[in-house]
């Protein structure tokens, strides 16, 4: 790992001049962005704006061609792989809900718990009261207590989204990256999710990518609009949604 001598920035997450291209297509173009500790940030933008690719870069799935990605002001994420980044405390929820479908809800959470992840540790692992209680608490938060022994694959779409958020909670990361958490949810569920995220935001820094403007509005946080891999506008939801360019490329007139 690569730790710099002094904190270069106070930001929890700091992207500077990031570029990445696939076969000549510039997916991310000179992207710069900073997330303060404890902040929740909503990212919006049209399809292909580079939202998911940005998350891939932060979590180590994609290596940028150039640019800096600093976590907690000291760690250069571009040098690390997914596992190391997850260990540092960055959790991610995927666009398409990704849970372990052939395992129970409870096991999904158990796997997500931020404990010893070594081969030895898992082989000789035994249940502890503390862990059971953590799981119990998360289950309550995501309202799946009754479904704890069901296979994750048998959950509804919305429940899976929640389970995945629950897994993030169990992981207890410093920074949560949440990709389209309300896609396919009913209005009520969307509202509940917004409440949940706000609740989580009390102890965690969060970055949310979302298309649902009602949801973004409900979160009531700073918004960044991406377009063609670069930041188009940044500010409160009202400022951004009144921005000429944003309206032109994304929201539509």
């Amino acid at each position: 790992m690569n730790v710099m001598d002094t904190r270069a920035t106070s930001a929890m997450l700091y992207l500077d001049g990031v570029h990445v291209s696939f076969d000549g297509f510039h997916a991310i173009n000179n992207l710069s962005l900073a997330l303060e500790p404890g902040e929740m940030r909503a990212i919006i933008g049209p399809n292909g704006a580079g939202k998911t690719t940005m998350m891939d870069i932060i979590t180590g799935k994609t290596k940028p061609d150039e640019g800096t990605v600093l976590f907690d002001g000291v760690t250069d994420l571009t040098r690390l792989d997914e596992t190391r980044i997850a260990e540092l405390g960055i959790g991610r929820k995927f666009q398409k809900p990704t849970v372990f479908e052939s395992q129970t809800v409870q096991d999904n959470l158990l796997l997500a718990l931020n404990v010893d992840h070594s081969v030895r540790g898992t082989l000789f692992w035994r249940e502890s009261r503390a862990e059971t209680e953590r799981i119990q608490k998360v289950l309550e938060t995501i309202r799946l207590t009754d479904a704890r022994n069901r296979l994750a694959g048998s959950l509804s779409h919305g429940q899976k989204q929640w389970l995945e958020i629950g897994m993030l909670l169990a992981q207890d990361p410093k920074l949560l990256l949440v990709d389209e958490p309300v896609a396919g949810m009913t209005d009520v569920e969307t509202h509940q999710t917004a409440e949940l995220l706000k609740e989580i935001n009390k102890d965690h820094t969060i970055m949310v990518v979302e298309h649902d403007m009602t949801f973004v509005r409900e979160l009531g946080v700073k918004v960044t609009c991406l377009h063609e891999g670069t930041v188009l506008a940044e500010g409160s939801i009202d400022q951004v949604s009144s921005n000429e360019r944003v309206v032109e490329v994304y929201l539509g007139r």
Binding site: F22, D23, F25, A27, T52, T53, D56
Partner: protein, 537 residues
């Protein structure tokens, strides 16, 4: 004993030949006795007969000896009569030249062995040095070059003086040089000139000649010979790199041909078809059936048999491919590892089915005349069958690229593989496209079988020997990219052929496999991998 005999015989032939140039005296009795010896079915008698006949000066000598070479000479062991079956089917009595109606029932063709075959070649070579056909004169001169028989020198020199054809002149010059080099009483200067001529020829024959002439030469000549040998050797070493490259291209074309169908079914559709090799085998057996029909019904069409087999093999293998897709593979989309197992089972069934139908032994597939033989390009030999296979492979590749790029089916295929649901909603019958794509891949494997039948066994095991190599090519080149398959095949082919002389065939192959395994670690998705998010989807 034999060598002595050969020498004596050559001397005789040539001296008689020289006489024969001026007059044709007619001997009667001895000639007929000599001819009758062919009927004794003893190699030594046959040899004597050749000697006697060739030296007889009889106008029937040439027809008899050339008939002997082409196995058209038959003899009746009881009546001791010998017959020539002429090219037009007419049968004549070899001793008299009289036309006969038919061969006696117990007449058998006169047998030869390698020794006699060489005698016959030498006799014919001497008899044809003055042939009106320049090509025959070149061949005759080359046989003198190999035998460097001193007695032929006057004829060669005579012929050289009169010669107008450029190639024949060159051949006679070289033949003369060869004789002089071995002539013990030739002057040093002549010999040095001869060495220069042979050195200029520069091929393996020249090297062989110089090497065997190396002993007991005058010091000056010996020195020149040593110089010439090393110069030819270094020249040949350079050519051998070219030769390796050509072999590599040729092997690469075979690999490409075998793999290209797989590049479609595996690369484009993601179906791991372990029965791919069996599609190749089916193509080869189609060729066999086509040739059988042609042999029995239309022997004149034999040279076109492959042209007929190509479309048929495509249809047969493609049809079987479509049937497989409809009955098995379509139930397994999205489960690549299970497809692998099912198609492996299928390959066992197909192999055993062919074994039951055609028998377990190899089947004979002949080379049409335009695919037989070889020609020299500089100092390398290029065989026609390899050359045609290379051209054929490239043609198939180009046609396939064009098909995928410019036809409606190609467009639909690409659409379906890139986004099945979207393609379906655009009104493309995806299941039909799947079947046709698989059929196309299988059909191309069938075509590959036609080509491979020209260089390999046609047996039920044919497919097995190509399947692993094909997968290596596709994986190495990068899945889903036909250009990758092309580059992959040629890279592996050439690498293999440059490794083979150094490490031997077995180690070379192991080395290639290990290199591929290591390469996949470096680039898990092959040489020409697709990048970006789409890959993960």
């Amino acid at each position: 004993m034999f060598g002595y005999f050969l020498e004596r015989f050559r001397a005789l032939v040539l001296s008689v030949l020289l006489i024969a140039c001026f007059a044709l005296p007619a001997f009667a009795g001895p000639f007929e006795d000599a001819v009758a010896k062919f009927a004794n079915d003893e190699f030594s008698d046959t040899a004597e007969a050749i000697e006697a006949v060739a030296s007889s000066g009889n106008p029937l000598a040439f027809p008899i000896i050339s008939a002997l070479q082409e196995e058209r000479l038959s003899a009746d062991p009881e009546s001791k009569k010998v017959f020539i079956t002429q090219a037009d089917g007419k049968i004549i009595d070899a001793a008299t030249g009289a036309v006969v109606d038919k061969l006696p029932d117990n007449a058998a063709s006169v047998r030869l062995n390698n020794r006699l075959r060489r005698t016959v070649e030498a006799a014919l070579g001497s008899l044809t040095l003055l042939s009106p056909d320049p090509a025959k004169r070149v061949a005759a001169a080359q046989s003198v070059f190999k035998s460097h028989d001193e007695n032929a020198l006057p004829v060669v020199e005579g012929a050289l003086a009169k010669e107008t054809d450029k190639a024949a002149k060159q051949a006679f010059t070289e033949a003369r040089a060869a004789i002089i080099l071995f002539k013990s009483d030739a002057s040093d200067n002549d010999k040095l000139d001869a060495v220069a001529v042979i050195k200029a020829r520069g091929d393996q024959e020249a090297l062989a000649l110089l090497t065997s002439a190396g002993s007991d030469q005058p010091p000056l000549v010996a020195q020149a010979i040593t110089g010439a040998i090393s110069s030819i050797q270094s020249n040949l070493a350079m050519w051998s790199a070219v030769q390796n490259a050509w072999y590599g291209l040729s092997l690469g074309s075979v690999l490409l041909l075998a793999a290209i169908g797989l590049a479609i079914t595996f690369g484009v559709m993601g179906v791991i078809n372990m029965a791919h090799g069996e599609m190749v085998m089916i193509g080869a057996y189609t060729t066999f059936v086509v040739q059988e029909v042609i042999r029995t019904r239309y022997p004149g069409l034999f040279d076109y048999s492959l042209l007929i087999a190509v479309p048929l093999a495509f249809l047969v293998a493609g049809g079987i491919g479509v049937a497989i897709e409809r009955s098995i593979i379509r139930f397994l989309y999205g489960r690549p590892l299970e497809t692998l197992l099912a198609t492996w089972g299928l390959s066992l069934v197909l192999q055993q089915a062919v074994r039951t139908m055609f028998g377990p032994t190899n089947r004979e597939v002949g080379n049409p005349s335009w695919m037989s033989g070889a020609f020299e390009l500089g100092q390398i030999t290029i065989t026609y069958n390899r050359l045609w296979i290379l051209c054929f492979t490239l043609a198939v590749f180009v046609i396939l690229l064009a098909m995928l790029g410019y036809t409606a089916l190609g467009l639909e295929m690409r659409a379906v593989t890139q986004n099945r649901r979207m393609a379906a909603s655009m009104g493309i019958a995806t299941s039909r496209v799947d079947a046709l794509t698989f059929g196309l891949g299988s059909g191309i494997a069938g075509i590959a079988g036609v080509a491979l039948s020209q260089i390999d066994n046609v047996s039920p095991n044919l497919g097995q020997s190509y399947i692993i190599d094909s997968f290596m090519v596709v994986v190495f080149g990068g899945v889903g990219n036909l250009w990758g398959t092309l580059v992959g095949a040629f890279t592996l082919g050439i690498a293999n052929k440059f490794l083979e002389p150094v490490a031997g065939a077995v180690l070379g192959k192991i080395a290639i496999l290990v290199l591929i395994i290591l390469f996949i670690q470096k680039r898990p998705r092959g040489l020409f991998a697709l990048k970006g998010r789409a890959v993960e989807a």
